[in-house]
């Protein structure tokens, strides 16, 4: 019988630490049917805007809807690619430039599935999850982030 998957929390308060990423990787060493892991990390960029320089992004979300949607995306990707594991973490709150705000992690027997699934997950997370980034500027103002 296939294991029933339930919505998991994807939100992390504050930045995602490299230690958390290391810990997550280490957790997979007992899954010896995995041959490849693909990881994407989003890092806060010190963009120059006409209004000032970005020093942090403050993320908010419609959390209940985002978790339902993330679950739907997860199920879609699991049914499309032969994956062993899939993990999504997104920061909420204020994340400073140079810090990690998104961590997407896919694992599979052969590398292609992990890579393609990771790529598709990142696209869908950016396009479909109700999350908003407020770019905090060094001029004390802010602008709302726009995904391209």
């Amino acid at each position: 019988m296939e294991k029933e998957r339930k919505p998991k929390n994807i939100f992390v308060q504050g930045a995602i630490s490299p230690e958390k990423i290391a810990h997550s990787i280490a957790n997979h060493s007992s899954k010896t049917d995995i041959g490849g892991h693909s990881i994407f990390l989003g890092q806060i960029r010190a963009d120059e805007k006409p209004e000032g320089k970005v020093i942090a992004i403050e993320y908010t979300a419609y959390e209940e809807m985002a978790l339902e949607k993330a679950f739907e995306i997860r199920e879609d990707i699991f049914s499309k690619y032969p994956l062993t594991c899939m993990h999504i973490y997104h920061s909420l709150g204020k994340i400073n430039v140079g810090e990690i705000c998104l961590f997407v992690f896919t694992s599979s027997k052969h590398r292609k599935a992990a890579m393609q699934a990771c790529d598709e997950l990142v696209e869908r997370i950016k396009a479909e999850l109700p999350i908003w980034g407020k770019e905090i500027l060094d001029t004390e103002g802010h602008v709302w982030k726009v995904n391209s």
Partner: protein, 79 residues
Amino acid sequence: MSQTITIKAFGMVAEKIGSAELTLENPGTLLALKNQLATRFPELKEMKFGFALNKKMLTSDSVIPVGAEIALLPPFSGG
């Protein structure tokens, strides 16, 4: 049975209307709600945003059920 609905606003929309949550009498349909919001918050007219009804995106006019939660969602910018 209460005829109110809950409006949740996010991101730039919440900033514009100065509030993240409102309770309104149910105007019946999404179109009626849009008109009501436009009257109450004229600054919304220049903004691009979508609607979710009970956490599902709405792509066309809809009847709003009793006790619904309607969210005003500016373009997503996660990641």
